[in-house]
């Protein structure tokens, strides 16, 4: 009996969590990420640089004995990276590809808050017009009358895609921007 209620409470909590988002700032825009994929938020410390990597890979940091890669989201979105300030943070995110889990840190300019965005308040991604690649967008959440871009973590931090880009950089094939 108690088990049952506990399970129900658990379930309710999970459903509740699913609608919870962390909002953060990149440049002048606000983005959101589902909190279920977020492990922790760290103060920014300069990562160890890895040579011959594309600009969106800042390097690796020591997270309690494991070497965790750090991705610069600005660079990943094709924008110039912002200067490091006191508010700069590294958000540690866990993604799953098939059965493998990958822990990756992302650099953001500042984190704002965790808030709830019910499904009814989320609009589908526009096919164009957004400031970042359309497939990076999971949806547009309405928060206090403004839209925030909810990021699709699995696409933004797609290990396979990034691996290809790092490989291209490491072997010296320069990927030219489309003319």
């Amino acid at each position: 009996m108690t088990n049952n209620t506990a399970a129900k409470a658990d379930d309710a909590e999970r459903r509740h969590d699913q609608n919870q988002y962390l909002t953060f700032v990149l440049g002048r825009e606000t983005f959101a990420l589902g909190i279920l994929s977020i492990k922790e938020i760290l103060e920014y410390s300069a990562p160890t640089e890895i040579p011959m990597m594309p600009a969106f890979i800042r390097g690796v940091v020591n997270l309690r004995g494991a070497a965790v890669p750090v991705v610069d989201l600005c660079a990943r979105f094709g924008r110039p990276s912002a200067a490091v300030t006191k508010k700069t943070c590294v958000v540690i995110i866990e993604t799953r590809v098939e059965d493998e889990s990958h822990v990756i840190g992302v650099v953001v300019d500042a984190v704002n808050e965790v808030l709830e965005i019910p499904d009814s308040e989320i609009e589908p991604a526009p096919s164009f017009g957004a400031s970042i690649r359309a497939d990076f967008i999971q949806g547009m959440g309405k928060v206090r009358g403004k839209f925030v871009i909810i990021l699709d973590v699995d696409r933004v931090l797609c290990v396979e895609e990034m691996e290809m880009l790092t490989h291209a950089a490491a072997s010296g094939e320069v990927v030219q921007p489309a003319a």
Binding site: P51, N62, G65, A67, H102, L165, A169, S171, G172
Partner: protein, 662 residues
Amino acid sequence: MTDAALPTFIAESRELLREMEAALLECEQGESGAEAVNSIFRAAHTIKGSSGLFGLDGIVAFTHVVESVLDRVRANSLQMDRTLAAILLECRDHIEHLVDAVADGKPDDVQLATKGESLLQKLSARAGGPATTHATATASASASASAPVAPAAGWQITVQFHTEVLRNGMDPLSFIRYLSTLGEIVELTLLTERLPAAEEFDAEACYLGFEIELASSETQQRIEGAFEFVRDDCTLQVRPKAPVASESVAEKREASDAKETKAAKNSDRSLRVDGDKLDALIDLIGELVTAGATTTITARKAGLSELNESTLRLARLVEEVRDQALKLRMVQIGPTFSRFQRIVRDVAREIGKEIRLEIGGAETELDKTLIESITDPLTHLVRNAIDHGIETAEVRRNRGKNVEGVVRLDAYHDSGSVVIEVADDGGGLKRERIIAKAMERGLITDGSSLTDGEAFALIFEPGFSTAEQVTNLSGRGVGMDVVKRNVNALRGTVELDSKEGQGTTVRIRLPLTLAIIDGFLVGVGGSSFVIPLELVEECVELGDEHRAADGDQRYINLRGQVLPFVRLREMFSIRSSASRRESIVVIRSGGKRIGIVVDDLLGEMQAVIKPLSRLFSRIRGIGGSTILGTGQLALILDVPSLLDLCLNTRQVQVAPRRALTD
């Protein structure tokens, strides 16, 4: 029996089957000593006994027949020869399949059962003669999965219940009552010697044992089955009452406690430990090493001599603990080598060559994960040696060689690494053919300037194969490059020696362990890098004249020899101005010597290797990372791939740090 013990049974059986295979192969080659036959018999016997405990009737029935044949060999009433050994090998394979079926959770495979029967027929046909009646009788009965045949007379059962049995909710009486449904209890003696004095008597504990004489025609298994539920809570002995076959008494007793027998046999006091536990321990020790380094640095800063001394003592101990822990993961390579006996035999037979496998250095130890990862490349090399290396018997005769070809596997330690050799005394590599092929494939443009070593190295290039015809074993041109890649992935190297007409030797050089290396820490700009210490030969200062002549001259005169060098700063595009002093670390790898120019030499350290994320899986020049005493990460240089990178300077010149946008 509990399911929890089943994996142990499976693991043990597989081990025994491997022993059995090795001994059978010995027999097949005509070196059958009594010891080999004994060990085959013991393996079959133990497997039979343990599977009986788990009620795996299929395995018991099949193995029993095999065992009886073996028993006759042991008693010299049957001669072990090539044919018999070959059939027994097939039987061994069948037992392995049966065990595999149990492991997969489907012990009642009809196909397997029919195959088993036909094998048994083959066996009894070979082992024929008057003395086989027993074996053949059981063989025909085995279809109905009958257990060892029981003498009809009766059974002597001795059972000692453990003290906990009542508390576990078992009533000893109910088992005795159940026994009476299997036969008639002729006599029952109560064993009371364990009864304590009245003041120590615990009313909830069971102190009783029984000696029962049961007149029954049931099998031993059924009778043991009666005690199934208290199997862990009692000591049970079931013996045939009549002293009909004294051999069989001993055998049954042994079988009833197969584990004990095994433990007694391997009296070398070894423990079976879950690999994950070891990995966790090694991880922890890795952290300990890192924390120890931090403490040493802090102590040095504090400048207290006593503190310094004690941290040094601590560091020495930690180092010892580390070495001991790493040794736990070390296993001998012998069993892996022995497995190739079978491959060599089967493959040689398939293609009609006479080949003998020689094994050396079987006691050489290396990390278990390394052994697991090296098996595939080794298999490939051995197959290559058999298929392409060793000539056919006819050719060998014409060349005046011994008709029987020899493939040799060898392992030994050499200056901080392990070397595994696969050698054959076959035709060797033909330099001209390799060069012709390489030019045809566009790998090189002119072969005349290549040294032998460089020419032979070409066969490790992707898509290279000189075999004139493709066999189903090898020769499709995939292979040697995969071998090289696999070995490189383990931080190892492959070299090849060959003399035309005399044979080929492939030498794989591997690190002793994958977890921790002794490293040499260097600094460039603000970054730190670790160079594996065993590759470092010496360090020299980079003279001003070389620094001034920056640009063209990328070599120095090191005691009369030319030493080419690379600047890590340029190679890795590290953005910092050159420091006032630079040093050259001289490293040797794969027979080449080069210098690496760095800013600072920071000294030796133990580096616990932390693998980099999959994101960096294709990065070249870097093999992993490690955590410094300060908590900072440093990158570990992968020297062989760094050398490749140097040889390909075109790629270094491309400015790599460029934003990739779309």
